[in-house]
Point group: C2
DNA sequence: CGGGCAATGTAACTTTTGATACAGAAAACG
DNA sequence: CGTTTTCTGTATCAAAAGTTACATTGCCCG
């Protein structure tokens, strides 16, 4: 586990902290589609992502979701930290976008290290800051952009996270993430295809780079 | 200043920390409408709000703003902390909703105290958590609600922050905060009046409690 | 290879929001 | 008091997004 940790976090944490993490943390693997955290869950461990990607969703009161952002290697979920420290229920759902690995750290330790290791403190703050920034971007998208732009940005994000220009999703799945209807997505995708920005296949979309 | 501090923060911080704050902090008063932080500002001090209320706005790329949330006594601006620690430009604008007072704390001190005082650490984390929650609420509003609901929530927020059911704003000002046009606001306000939820006056709106 | 099913395409219509234009009412002010 | 400015009400039209309904197209699998 130590070597795995060093791969993703070796540059950020000092030796002693890496050792401590290796001692108390539990390694966990997950598969694409796994629900790692659900609305209302109480969370007592903090996840550090070693590999793979996770998408974070917000739930509507009456049915429906909205994609907030993706997490990658080296990220942690600030929303989860918020829940840990505040001892409240989870406000979000975390779904595995790809298979991957996380290490789980008990809340007690994460608090202890805050006083003990400056590098840990910086990491936690940087995570909060990244997440606030991602939330701001989500708000920008919602408030200032039309659905066609949001859709195109979504496709770019997906491509970046999955490291491929072939996006393996049905229109319905995309509609869920963007909190709209399948028909709207089909319509706008067709428009994007006509503009030459993408090519549509069955259950997959190909990004056409200029 | 010490007594002022104790009024808002006496229950959260220990004596020693309050003393330290009183030593290094600068007291600053502001008037309604003052722009306390603007987009692109570099921020080197962290504000603690003692009295009054502040609204935090996000800027559109090409003209236009959106209200994110309000700050009250005992709050601090996590977005500002993010900028302080990350040493980046401000992503938001802070405008005084009422007159009030803040104490300004140098970034260096706020970092020092993070290692030194557990109460400070908790305060900073709680602030981040509150702000994340407010951002989530902002996203809920944008993603899941129509303009009429957003408008009504806005009026309720305003009333709570200003501690009065008489909201002294023109339709144009409300339109700015909600990032829409004056005509839309007028239309929806009229509809709310017809439903008996508010009464309209010139340059002010009266909330009618059920 | 043909039936069944999931995924997509498309038409027609409604609702919501935004844009423009202008009229009337209230305050502001010399 | 009359003029000017600000604020509000409303009508009309256009665009964006949501809804419903149904046709078509591939694909899986017996």
């Amino acid at each position: 586990m130590l070597s795995l940790l060093k791969e993703s976090y070796g540059y950020i944490f000092e030796e002693k902290l890496l050792d401590e993490i290796a001692q108390v943390a539990q390694l966990k693997t997950f598969e694409e589609g796994d629900i790692l955290i659900d609305f209302g869950d109480y969370i007592k461990t903090m996840p550090l992502l070693l590999s793979g990607a996770i998408k974070i969703l917000r739930e509507d009161f009456d049915e429906g979701e909205l994609l907030l952002y993706f997490l990658e290697k080296g990220d942690t979920c600030a929303m989860t930290m918020a829940c840990c420290l505040g001892e409240t229920k989870s406000e979000i759902r975390a779904v595995a976008e790809t298979k991957g690995e996380v290490v789980m750290i008990p809340v007690a330790k994460m608090e202890e290290w805050l006083g003990k290791y400056k590098s840990w403190r910086n990491f936690v703050f940087n995570s909060y800051n990244s997440r606030l920034k991602e939330m701001l971007m989500a708000i920008d998208n919602l408030a200032f952009m039309n659905m066609d732009e949001r859709l195109y940005n979504y496709l770019l994000d997906k491509a970046q996270i999955n490291k491929t220009d072939f996006i393996q999703n049905t229109h319905q799945e995309i509609a869920y993430d963007l909190h709209t209807s399948r028909v709207v997505i089909s319509r706008l995708l067709k428009a994007l295809e006509n503009k030459g920005k993408i090519k549509l296949h069955r259950a997959s979309i190909e990004l056409v780079r200029a």
